[in-house]
């Protein structure tokens, strides 16, 4: 796109839960480096539709603007992604912007993704340290183990992977890739491994890994390029082996 070129953003809006959604079109002016956040800020400064009708500014969530907080996930031209790292240049126009659909809608592009964190509780996604008082250094971790775990630890819980997953929907309790990946990450830590059994029990339970349909959409949309397919496969192996051992012990 050229500097000062006009383009249209088509945005799905909704006053609140249970209200009728509607679409509005805005005419915006392109500048080099412009991302979807800047486009939304332009609307915020001058909330008027393409046909010059006054409207309310679009509500959305964002914070860091450098793709590390995960707040600004939305569907842009059909793909769930982060508004801050989606540059206008290179997008088809009109740029179509919708809220994520797999989470309760709050307003316009704002959705409530707290279910991800609730699921973190279910799988006990934490390292069970004793207390925060001086207990000396942490466990030794090999370079290889760190290099394998670090990419998994970069998940920003944006919810893009859940949005893209056909198994995550209103009729299914599937917790999705972001949550399962957290289990893999915790299991890969020497101390985290100690409460692996209870974590794997949650992973095998309803809504857990059994609901994964291996569509692999999660890895395709992940903005941090986390090897989610591999992460879930590793977890699956662990869950199967752990389940088998439990069965043999019976």
């Amino acid at each position: 796109m050229n500097k000062s070129e006009k383009f249209t953003a088509r945005i799905k809006r909704q006053e609140g839960p249970g209200r009728e959604p509607y679409w509005e079109e805005f005419e915006l002016t392109f500048r080099p480096g412009m991302n979807v956040i800047i486009a939304l800020m332009d609307i915020q400064k001058n909330p008027a539709t393409r046909d010059n009708k006054k409207t309310t500014p679009v509500s959305w969530e964002c914070s860091c603007l450098e793709e590390v907080c995960g707040a600004c996930a939305m569907i842009i031209n059909g793909v769930p992604r982060q508004a801050c790292s989606t540059l206008i240049d290179g997008l088809e126009t009109p740029v179509v912007i919708e809220p994520l659909t797999k989470f309760p809608l709050v307003k316009d592009l704002v959705v409530d993704r707290r279910s991800i964190f609730e699921n973190f509780k279910k799988i006990r996604a934490w390292i069970p340290i004793d207390l925060t008082y001086g207990a000396g250094p942490g466990p030794r971790v090999s370079r290889e183990a760190q290099m394998k775990a670090y990419p998994l630890s970069r998940c920003i819980t944006c919810g893009d992977c859940l949005e893209a997953c056909p198994q995550v929907n209103s009729r299914s309790p599937f917790m999705g890739a972001a949550v399962l990946n957290q289990a893999t990450l915790m299991d890969s830590h020497p101390t985290g491994r100690m409460n692996r059994a209870e974590r794997l029990a949650a992973v095998r339970a309803k809504g857990g890994i059994g609901d994964c349909g291996n569509a692999q959409n999660c890895a395709r949309v992940c903005p941090k390029d986390i090897p989610l397919v591999d992460s879930i496969a590793r977890l699956n192996r662990e869950a199967i082996i752990d389940g088998l051992l439990k069965w043999l012990e019976k």
Binding site: I38, M41, C64, L65, C69, A135, G138, A149, S153, R154
Partner: protein, 575 residues
């Protein structure tokens, strides 16, 4: 009996405070604008300092302490700085135990790298996303306490005002639910403000856009002393952008990155030439001023634009991928250029607030019942923060403020539940009336335009180089913006209403920053006045304390505690 402690802010300081209070068996209500996992601390990149001395350099806590005080140009009270440096190695161990995926040596030990303002490998790191990993580790521990019923989270709630009783004691807060716009009072036996930085006052900064300083300003307007408002750090290397200036971590230089501009057709490594002892790793205030000089005085910005090169393209490929991946990813996402191949273009950007709530050595503000932690308080960084000290200070503050607040609450004679409900109802009513007043406004001023003007004038005049005439002009402009604020109209009653409240608070705090800078006639750390180019210990070795008054801040000054290290002049050009 269990006390009820409110913590405002879900970044590292708030999360660590919550862990400590819950661990002491007390009950926490944790308020955050976004889910805590999205807090601004995730943006910290390069690492966290602790003198673990694992590289055979004879590093020590006392050297870390000295580097911190020296880098801060002796404005910090020294005993609390020493305590932080003493706690630092234990903080690294603790977060390592919590599962932070720190980079490792071949033996499986923590790896350390260099950072600005020091000669030692003192910075532990997880790639260039150290803050993110630390937030996640603490967030997970808090979630554990949440599951155990000791922590109750109020995410997507924004703090509005403190509830202060007739005796001047803080008894709770009023907050607004950002999803429903419900306004509610929450009584508390003690409140910890861990509300982070103020970057948004400068329009564009390396901060997240939630870092408005609005909460700090609301407490300041309620009587909290605000210390060293004039001390704002400008980071030397950030990517200029329209929506924000994105940080390119100091670790790029810690790993061997070099800053240069073309001169006479050749690269000129001006930091290395001017500061041979520290080279590219001079402290941030020094580096930012040097870049300003090269660009604005010598006219040597790249292609005539206000940018310089930060070059990491010569570093070993494997180091780039395992140690600097995060910043390369950010740079490439926003510019389309690969820093492995071409030098990055960077310029200084507003980064960190050394000032903040005045607190005593036990993290208590001047309002009984109110404590402060993290970037929101002023205690550890003096006039210029040492790189990689922010993460350690935030976690240290939580470890100190949590127990301090819990102790205070346990010793209370009258508890929050004994207070009349009318106290809380009155504050809710007052806040609802402010909202109604804003919603009823029907003027022709545009909220976002006022915000833009504030950011421009603050960036232009109250950052790297400060002149008294321009500071006076800035304050006049801020007063004009406050008047025009009365003539706004809100385009909606949701996010715009919340932003209007933040903007008013930002404008009020901006005046304290500007006028504190105007008053301090010397140069110290990040505060540089060409008209007063020298540090003036005889007159200005003192902490600024700003108190709110409707017609403008009133300043008091108190001497700095220099009981441990004798102040000396700062020199980074020689050993």
């Amino acid at each position: 009996m269990k006390s009820n402690i409110i913590i405002i802010g879900g970044g590292l300081a708030g999360l660590m405070s919550a862990i400590k209070v819950a661990e002491a068996g007390q009950h926490v209500k944790l308020f955050a604008i976004h889910p805590t996992r999205r807090s601004h601390s995730v943006c910290a990149q390069g690492g966290i300092n602790a003198a673990k001395n694992l590289k055979g350099e004879d590093d020590s806590v006392l050297k870390h302490f000295d580097d911190t005080v020296y880098s801060g140009d002796f404005l910090a009270n020294q005993p609390p700085v020493l305590k932080m440096c003493e706690a630092a190695p234990g903080i690294i161990d603790l977060t390592d135990r919590m599962g932070v995926m720190y980079n490792r040596t071949p033996e499986g030990l923590l790896d350390f790298r260099r950072f600005g303002g020091t000669k030692y490998h003192r910075t532990a790191f997880a790639g260039t996303t150290t803050g993110q990993q630390l937030v996640y580790a603490l967030d997970e521990q808090v979630r554990r306490f949440e599951a155990a019923g000791l922590v109750e989270k109020f995410e997507n709630w924004e703090f509005m005002s403190p509830v202060i009783d007739d005796a001047g004691t803080c008894r709770g807060i009023v907050a607004i639910n950002l999803y429903t716009m419900e306004i509610k009072a929450f009584p508390a036996d003690a409140v910890i403000a861990a509300t982070g930085g103020i970057g948004a006052i400068f329009g564009k900064s390396t901060n997240s856009i939630v870092n408005t300083g609005s909460a700090v300003s609301a407490f300041y307007q309620a009587g909290a002393a605000y210390a060293n408002p004039e001390m704002v750090q400008v980071h030397p290397t950030a990517m200029p952008g329209e929506d924000k200036t994105r940080l390119i971590s100091e670790s790029a230089r810690g790993e061997g990155g070099r800053v240069w501009v073309p001169r006479d057709g050749k690269p000129w490594y001006f930091l290395e030439e001017w500061y041979p002892a520290y080279g590219n790793l001079v402290p941030r205030d020094v580096a930012s001023r040097a870049i300003f000089k090269v660009v604005y005085e010598l006219g040597l910005g790249v292609e005539g634009r206000p940018v310089v090169y930060l070059d990491i393209s010569h570093l070993p490929k494997e180091d780039l991928e395992t140690r600097l991946f995060g910043i390369m990813e950010i740079y490439q996402t926003y510019t389309g250029q690969d820093p492995r191949k071409v030098p990055m273009q960077v310029f200084p950007g507003v980064h960190y607030n050394m000032g903040g709530f005045w607190v005593d050595y036990d993290m208590a503000t001047n309002i009984p019942g109110l404590f402060a932690a993290g970037e929101a308080e002023y205690q550890h960084h003096g006039a210029n923060r040492l790189g990689a000290n922010s993460l350690v200070s935030c976690i240290y503050d939580g470890m100190a403020a949590g127990p301090a607040a819990a102790d205070y609450a346990s010793g209370l004679k009258t508890r929050s539940e004994d207070m009349p409900t009318s106290l809380f109802e009155a504050e809710v009513k007052r806040q609802a009336a402010i909202n109604a007043g804003l919603t009823a406004k029907d003027g022709n001023e545009n909220l976002r335009a006022l915000y833009h003007e504030m950011g421009e004038v603050m960036r232009e005049n109250v950052t790297v180089v400060r002149y008294n005439e321009k500071l006076k002009g800035t304050d006049a402009k801020l007063r004009e913006l406050l008047e025009r604020f009365d003539n706004i109209s809100l385009p909606d009653g949701g996010q715009s209403l919340v932003f209007a409240r933040e903007l008013k608070n930002m404008l009020i705090l901006a005046r304290a920053i500007t006028l504190a800078a105007l008053t301090r006639n010397e140069s110290r750390g990040a505060h540089y006045k060409p008209e007063y180019p020298k540090r003036d210990d005889a007159n200005w070795l003192k902490t600024t304390k700003a108190f709110y008054a409707p017609d403008g801040p009133r300043f008091e000054y108190e001497p700095v505690d220099i009981s441990l290290i004798e102040p000396r002049e700062r020199h980074y050009e020689l050993e």
